[in-house]
Amino acid sequence: MTDERLVRALSKDGLCIDYGACVARVRSDVPAFSQRFFQLYRHFDLFARAPFVDFHVEVSRGRGLRRWLRPQSRFLIDRVQPFDPFAASHALPHYEWGLNWSFAQRFNQYVLLHAGVLALGDRALILPAIPGSGKSTLTAALMLAGFRLLSDEFGVLRPRQGDFLAMLKPVALKNASIEVIRRFSPGAEIGPIFAATRKGDVAHLAPDAASVAAVHQPARPAVIVFPAWREGAALDLQPQAPEQAFTRLAFNSFNYGLLGRIGFDAVADLAAACPAYQLTYSSLDEVVSALRSLVSAPPGGANG
């Protein structure tokens, strides 16, 4: 489709986008949204139709006079607006946030870990972390260094198979990390900065073509790393006992409590299946090469 036709389709019946774990149909008549959307999702195929859509969402301008005087961005799922509107200029972060919310609300067939997931081949690196630990920065750097990105926000663990699905969305970089990633990789496809959102300044890194191409390939957990960035710290990887890894994984999950036994079994299996480390770092270059050798180590190695 040409750009113009895409914009028209987006505002009319919407476009379908395949995130790996789910397919969303997105509709929007907010001009500031469509431009950013096409920019960040440039490597994705967008379809007018999909045989099965999981989420029907909309980013829409306000109603009535408001629509013209002070345009807003309203996020709707199934025509229902679950939270307050944003300013129209913040329509894109609003959409990203709204879709994350919808996914976390509804996709309880999977264990949803709060984790970045990347892979080399089918060997997955899981980066569970609490907000503010520098997970997104590290995830972005790893993708830019050639890892395949599966997700920045959701580690989508299939309880029966024990593997991870991609939930491939733009990586939300916050505040200082926007500049850090620009310096790390000057060619990085980073969108505009949205100032003063509820998470501070936010800019999005577009998923690369290789990650998009592999969006339907699940990856098997190979290594779990709990990252913590500390200024000036030397690189340090401390092995974690499985029971320690278990509690930290469960604690960093969106729906562990809801899933009861299913969640317990899946997380216990995950903690038993692969080695876990506590990582402290300050230099992205150093940490990328350390994690590359950790993930590509053949199974049955020192910690396997």
Binding site: V23, P51, F52, V53, D54, H56, D78, R79, V80, R106, F107, N108, Q109, Y110, G257, L258, L259, G260, I262
Partner: protein, 362 residues
């Protein structure tokens, strides 16, 4: 009485009746079926019915199966929450107050198959009118607060309703409805409290009671027609369908139920419920259960109104003129059944006047 049921809805109703129906569905048929099931809050029930049959479950494509699994996991969690809440309430409510579980809590506590996957939004408890104030006071002490703060609405509930306004407690996912009757004080269906309470049954190893199974069915019928939440009504119809199917094939039981329906003055509601179950869920209804049919005109009105208000719609399906009129009518009718005409007029006037005043203030 030809009615046009949209294809996706016809699929949903067909699967609920006969899970084998999934064998003929393509992936693209599934999307609206899942969405309708979600809109009606029956998606977890749908999942359980399909999973019970391995052939049918295997015939569900991966994507819709994911939605059904998610719904079943969610329902299991709500069920667990409800169990925990009942345990906590057991400790809080004075032992001398007899508490009857109604609706979802009752189905779950009796381990009825229909409770499998049924999503309850609230916990419904029934106490005697004389125990109402004491029960409310203990609940307030335990942290439960009324969701209605407006004095007019509070007075309305207390004077004319069969339940207190819904209560919430901080950190608790479920709302609590404290009832002192199963039908609004002014409804034309008036079960005698003495008869109702005499039929209660104590749950094994529990402080809680449930209603006589016949009264549970009658209550489900009253609830179906006297509730303003129009979006969960297919679920309520499924409750009735399941209870009808579970009735023993015994003429004496059926006659007793029919007599009880008549004694409670619920014939008209019951007739419409049987009709809807038979028509949309293929429920086999024993001949002895049918009350005399309502008069031609009200019957025609209901036949037009019910499919438009009781069956789920896709979110994008614009409510046509017919449907919005039907919804308004259903709403009016709902109030008509809860209040005598004089009171309805007074209530509508009061509400309208207050709305006008509020608008002026703004």
């Amino acid at each position: 009485m030809a009615e046009r049921i949209p294809r996706p809805l016809a699929h949903l109703l067909a699967i609920l009746q006969e899970p084998q129906h999934v064998q003929g569905l393509a992936l693209s048929d599934w999307e609206p079926v899942i969405r309708l099931a979600r809109a009606a809050r029956v998606h977890a029930t749908l999942g359980h019915r399909l999973m019970a049959n391995p052939d049918c479950w295997a015939a569900v494509p991966e994507q819709p199966r994911g939605h059904l699994e998610a719904a079943m996991n969610f329902a299991a969690w709500r069920r667990h929450l409800l169990d925990m809440e009942l345990r906590a309430l057991d400790a809080q409510l004075p032992a001398e107050i007899e508490v009857v579980l109604i609706k979802g809590a009752a189905y779950q506590a009796q381990h009825l198959p229909l409770a499998e996957g049924r999503l309850s939004a609230d916990i419904d408890l029934l106490v005697r009118r004389a125990d109402l104030d004491a029960a409310e006071a203990t609940l307030v002490e335990a942290g439960w607060r009324s969701t209605v703060t407006d004095p007019y609405d509070q007075r309305y509930y207390r004077e004319w309703s069969h339940e207190l306004p819904p209560m919430q407690a901080e950190g608790h996912a479920l709302e609590l409805d404290l009832h002192h009757g199963i039908a609004p004080v002014t409804s034309r269906c008036q079960p005698d409290p003495g008869v109702l309470w005499a039929g209660r049954q104590r749950l094994p190893d529990s402080r809680y009671f449930v209603l006589d199974p016949m009264d549970q069915l009658i209550h489900a019928v009253v609830h179906l027609f006297q509730d303003t939440e129009l979006d969960g009504r297919l679920r309520d119809l499924l409750d009735i369908d399941a209870m009808l199917r579970a009735l023993p094939d015994d003429g004496e039981v059926q006659n007793a139920l029919a007599a009880r329906v008549a004694m409670f003055g619920a014939e008209v509601l019951f007739w419409h419920a049987l009709d809807a179950c038979q028509r949309w869920l293929g429920t086999p209804v024993p001949a002895a259960l049918w009350p005399a049919p309502p008069a031609q005109l009200p019957r025609a009105v209901m036949a037009w109104m019910l499919p438009r208000t009781l069956l789920p719609r896709l979110p994008e399906a614009r409510a046509g003129l017919g449907s919005s009129i039907a919804e308004r009518l259903a709403h009016l009718r709902y109030h008509r059944m809860r209040m005598p005409m004089g009171l309805l007029l007074r209530h509508s006037l009061a509400k309208g006047w207050r709305r006008l005043q509020l608008r002026r203030v703004r």
